[in-house]
Symmetry: C2
């Protein structure tokens, strides 16, 4: 995995940079854009979630990744409850502007199940199987 370490996004981004990023993103009819989070050094794909304009701007301003929760209908500051924050390393926008690749440094685990990443279901031996185990308990993540 080669990483363009010489030119990582500086944070806080300047207002003009944030405007340039927002202008290049094609938000969907709900005002959202898909955001893939990838661990910047290992290349592990951690999760996929959604951002609105405010979440993109906050992520670039604070350097901590913020999504928009469709189920809770509000900003979702990743790790705010669990402590498993994502620190922004770089934000990439795809060719047609409707998907983001967010290179991050993930503290702890990305998945709410306590697994490092969310993509742990796969076909094995003719059936759907879990191919990763939780590294952190629900109690440790959410105090319940």
């Amino acid at each position: 995995m080669t990483t363009d370490t010489a030119a990582l996004t500086r944070t806080p981004a300047a207002p003009a940079e944030i405007e340039a990023a927002l202008a290049a993103i094609r938000f969907n009819a709900d005002g959202l854009v898909a955001a893939i989070a990838q661990q910047h050094d290992s290349g592990e794909v951690l999760m996929m979630a959604w951002m609105n304009r405010e979440a993109v701007a906050e992520t670039l301003t604070t350097g901590r990744v913020c999504y928009f929760s469709r189920s809770r209908n509000k900003l979702w500051r990743k790790g705010e409850t669990s402590g498993q924050q994502q620190h922004l390393v770089d934000l990439r926008i795809d060719c047609d502007g409707d998907t983001l690749l967010v290179l991050v440094d993930q503290l702890g685990v990305a998945c709410h199940t306590g697994r490092r990443n969310c993509f742990f279901h796969a076909l094995r031996d003719g059936a759907l199987a879990s191919i990763a185990e939780p590294e952190v308990s629900q109690e440790d993540l959410y105090g319940r």
Copy 2:
């Protein structure tokens, strides 16, 4: 990048395996699921597109990745026109079933611009910049 090479998806998948995968996927109101394509060995995130039930089933059956094109409203057999096919290595389903991580072996380039991957816009020196150049011309890709 560690890859679970011992247990890659066999293709063609059996009908029962395809049914198990389809049952675990939560297709959205449009009958689609987001699919992230990642080069299986390097970890490079290549692109994000969408699949419907038929595209998932065809991908697992043929071992060649098939999406659903929202703009053309039909199955999109990746590389059918350009020759830049994606061969399926493994299909992962995320914790809540609404995103797929498709590990592939990409022939040539994934992006319609001729770049290896679609995520080539980033903030550099205060402005949005292209951080990768096309490796293949439009003429070589599409004969135009």
